[in-house]
């Protein structure tokens, strides 16, 4: 069965289920949020505020089969594009070796993580990058040869930096975290990840 079919079936079940409880979709969303607020404990750096969604998160909290309205998608991308802060020094390419370490590191921002230590980007969890690392995920596309295929022109550099900074600026409801926008990575770290993707010496482009 295709996912879309099943989601439709599930939605059907939910609709029937809702029949006598008669909870509208919006009511259910509100009730779920209340339920969550009562069911999570603040722990370490993870405060309950993390359950407060911004508009992007709210609009993107839907089954994949439920299509996002064109106008909503455009609004998400516009808002997020406006959030991108490019480095004041104009340099977008850092150190790919540091970028590789950031790409391998999955720590940061969990309730058990030390907030004083820099976060990783955990790129390999979802993307293929270098050929040497066989333990990579497939939630995102392969980025092997990312720079080799695209070159390192100014617009490519700006796109790459911007995509890491705020993925939703280019694809509404992308699964990828907004590393700069949400303060997961520092400016220097984003430069280093950009270098990992674009530097001709990086294993990504070998």
């Amino acid at each position: 069965m295709k996912p879309t079919n099943l989601t439709a079936v599930l939605a059907g079940i939910a609709a029937i289920a809702a029949g006598c409880a008669s909870m509208s979709d919006q009511e259910a969303s509100q009730k779920a949020l209340q339920l969550m607020k009562a069911s999570f404990n603040e722990r370490g750096q993870a405060k309950l505020e993390r359950l407060d969604q911004d508009e992007t998160q709210k609009l993107c909290s839907k089954p994949p089969a439920q299509e996002l309205a064109k106008e909503a998608a455009a609004r998400i991308e516009k808002q997020n594009l406006a959030s991108i802060r490019y480095p004041a020094d104009g340099k977008l390419i850092g150190d790919w070796k540091s970028g590789e370490r950031i790409a391998q590191n999955g720590q940061g921002m969990q309730f058990n993580d030390d907030p004083k230590r820099p976060s990783g980007a955990n790129c390999y969890a979802c993307h293929q990058l270098s050929k040497a690392e066989i333990s990579y995920g497939t939630i995102g596309p392969s980025l092997y040869n990312f720079g080799k295929l695209r070159g390192t022109s100014e617009p490519i550099q700006r796109y790459t930096y911007g995509k890491v900074y705020n993925s939703q600026a280019f694809t509404a409801c992308s699964n990828m975290p907004r590393f700069g926008h949400n303060g997961i990575l520092t400016e220097q770290q984003i430069k280093d990840v950009t270098a990992l993707l674009l530097d001709p010496d990086s294993p990504v482009n070998k």
Partner: protein, 156 residues
């Protein structure tokens, strides 16, 4: 179970115990070898040192020893490894993991009537060669296999 012997083991706690046991006349060299590895071999920090402590320098590489293990382990905390010897007169089977801080992991003595094949699970800190050392008819033989340890999950 020999109680006086256990008391010595308790106070000794690892390296150097073997000499103590010999001195006390509790363990005979033959007995220790019959049980597989000398205790101090477990404390050694490299494969050559461990082999020396086992009295097994320069073992011959043998195709009659098979290491049954996945080439990639999802997690180094538990890596299943089986060792099978087809050498006649196999007396002991010993497992060493090159990159572990203390390479000697386990040693099994195989009495007559027991098949020269054991399986267990070990911790491997990073991708490493593992060695199976077999003593058969008084001589030492060895086989090698590389095991890759991958990073898993969300990394947290």
């Amino acid at each position: 179970m020999n109680h006086s012997r256990r008391a010595v083991l308790k106070t000794g706690g690892g390296a150097g115990v073997l000499g103590l046991l010999f001195a006390a006349g509790i363990a005979r060299p033959g007995e220790v070898f019959a049980q597989g590895a000398g205790l101090n071999a477990f404390a050694m920090k490299s494969v050559p040192e461990a082999l020396r402590a086992l009295g097994a320098q320069g073992p011959a590489v043998s195709a009659a020893i098979q290491i049954k293990a996945p080439e990639i382990a999802e997690n180094g905390a538990v890596v299943p490894i089986g060792i099978e010897s087809n050498l006649p007169g196999t007396e002991s089977i010993t497992l060493l993991i090159e990159k572990n801080p203390q390479p000697l992991a386990a040693s099994f003595s195989i009495p007559a009537g027991t098949e020269p094949s054991v399986s267990t699970r070990v911790k491997i800190g990073e991708s490493s060669d593992v060695y199976a050392l077999v003593k058969a008819d008084g001589k030492f033989y060895m086989a090698k296999k590389e095991i890759k340890i991958t990073l898993g999950g969300c990394g947290g």
